[in-house]
């Protein structure tokens, strides 16, 4: 794979780890008094555990796992609404595989499928579009989910459906944005973060400037990073060096993919199709102002919430988490996943109770898959 081996070179990793250790020592970071660095993106959480980076770095560096896993922050009420759409007669509900096992208050999409709903996993919203073309007598709904990385793909699909005049295609929109929850976390007095690893693929869409407020208003360093082990280690070093030198800037470690101003075509498609909701509910974080997107009036024919009369404003909303589930505390870094009483007992990747155990990008699933299961057994 292009630029995989180069960014997995063990010899280079050793040199970066040594530089991390020197810098961590210079700023006085210790196991008891560590530097807290939040990797915002769930893909980064997964890579950190996959390569054991949390164990390889200097003991004075502690990773805090951020809210950047879309299925993990999806509230149960939205899963319920999605199941409700899927169970309508004539509907083919299409979704990314990640969302299948997310628990709702009654059932997950997987359980709804087992009970007879026509739910199909797709790789791309373009597959949903093709299903709509091939099944003109069925209503094809795409479960639109994800951060700015994924938002352009559903926006471009809706534009394509409009150009073709498809009337049996719609999107149940749950797209969310990265900067707003980061601001909410920074405003939380309980949160002790010293710096951030910025999400690489979100940034290839939005660029690096939407993070300026983190450095300017909160005085925290951030380095936008790629997904290979050397990318992550180099970005940790960039954050530590900023701390050591008393700087707070937005740096771009992943310049091979992330342009400073993002991708103009993606940004234009998002702007054309979506507008901000006044607020959106995040599991574990509550309602966050202007953090979610909805489909604009001019594309309302493709809005599943409009088409099926479901969603925000359609009825009373219930904010709930399963009993004993500590996903909220784990998501804000207040507890480690292994400190949750349900971890590995009432909650495993096979039978998830909370959302952080569902996706491989969730912190709990990463702990479980890469050593957490051992820790729980000890």
């Amino acid at each position: 794979m292009k630029y995989a081996t180069e960014f997995r070179d063990p010899k280079a990793a050793k040199a970066v780890l040594a530089a991390i250790a020197r810098t961590a020592d210079a700023i006085g970071a210790t196991r008891e008094k560590p530097v807290h660095i939040m990797e915002i993106c769930g893909g980064h959480t997964h890579a950190i555990f996959r390569y054991g980076l949390d164990k390889l770095v200097h003991e004075g560096v502690e990773f805090i796992h951020g809210p950047g896993c879309p299925v993990c922050v999806l509230p149960m009420s939205r899963v319920d609404e999605c199941v409700e759409i899927a169970e309508r007669p004539g509907v083919i509900l299409t979704t990314f595989g990640d969302a299948m096992r997310v628990p709702g208050t009654k059932r997950s999409l997987l359980q709804a499928k087992a009970a007879g709903a026509d739910i199909r996993m797709v790789y791309s919203p373009l597959d949903a579009l093709e299903l709509a073309r091939r099944n003109p007598d069925r209503e094809v709904v795409f479960f639109g989910l994800g951060f700015e990385t994924t938002t352009p793909s559903t926006a471009l699909s809706i534009q394509q459906a409009a150009r073709e005049g498809l009337t049996n295609f719609s999107v149940f929109c749950n797209h969310i944005t990265v900067p707003e929850p980061i601001k909410a976390l920074l405003d939380d007095p309980d949160m002790l973060l010293d710096g951030f690893i910025g999400p690489g693929h979100v940034s290839m869409v939005i660029g690096t400037h939407p993070y300026d407020f983190i450095a300017r208003d909160y005085g925290k360093p951030i380095a936008v990073a790629g997904f290979e082990p050397l990318d992550l280690l180099q970005s940790v070093l960039m954050v530590l060096r900023q701390i050591a030198e008393g700087r707070a800037e937005v740096e771009n470690q992943y310049a091979r993919v992330v342009p400073e101003h993002g991708n103009p075509v993606s940004l234009a498609a998002i702007e054309d199709v979506y507008e901000r909701r006044p607020s959106f509910e995040w599991r574990g974080l509550g309602e966050i102002d202007a953090s979610g997107l909805r489909i604009r009036e001019k594309y309302r024919a493709f809005d599943a919430e409009e088409k099926f009369g479901i969603g925000y404003g359609a009825g009373p909303r219930q904010v709930a988490e399963p009993e004993g589930c500590a996903c909220g505390a784990a998501m804000t870094g207040r507890i480690k996943p292994t400190a949750c009483p349900q971890f590995g007992r009432g909650c495993t990747p096979e039978m998830p109770l909370g959302a952080l155990m569902v996706s491989s990008e969730g912190a709990c699933a990463a702990y479980w898959q890469y050593g957490g299961a051992r820790a729980a057994a000890e």
Binding site: K14, A15, V16, A18, G43, D98, L126, T150, V257, S359
Partner: protein
Amino acid sequence: MCLGIPGRIIAITDATRLMAMAEVSGVRREVNVACIADGPLEGLIGEWALIHVGFAMSRIDADEAEKTLEALRDLGEAQEALEAMAEGQRALEANP
């Protein structure tokens, strides 16, 4: 969810819908190239792009990749120099 994987554009399959064939780790898949189409579509053939859920989202910039790798190589050389210095110090302090 935000997983992306490098792929190489090998042919344009439907110019109207901005679709192209991409090769990703030896597997071929049709992808939408709207986000990277800033000139004639044929110019994309042979280019590397980051592929996400069926869309080529961003071109991979070889010059920028080289700069990042260069910074890593510098760290490696610095590390070797530091190790040599430490070795020299130990030699000076060693009692025969």
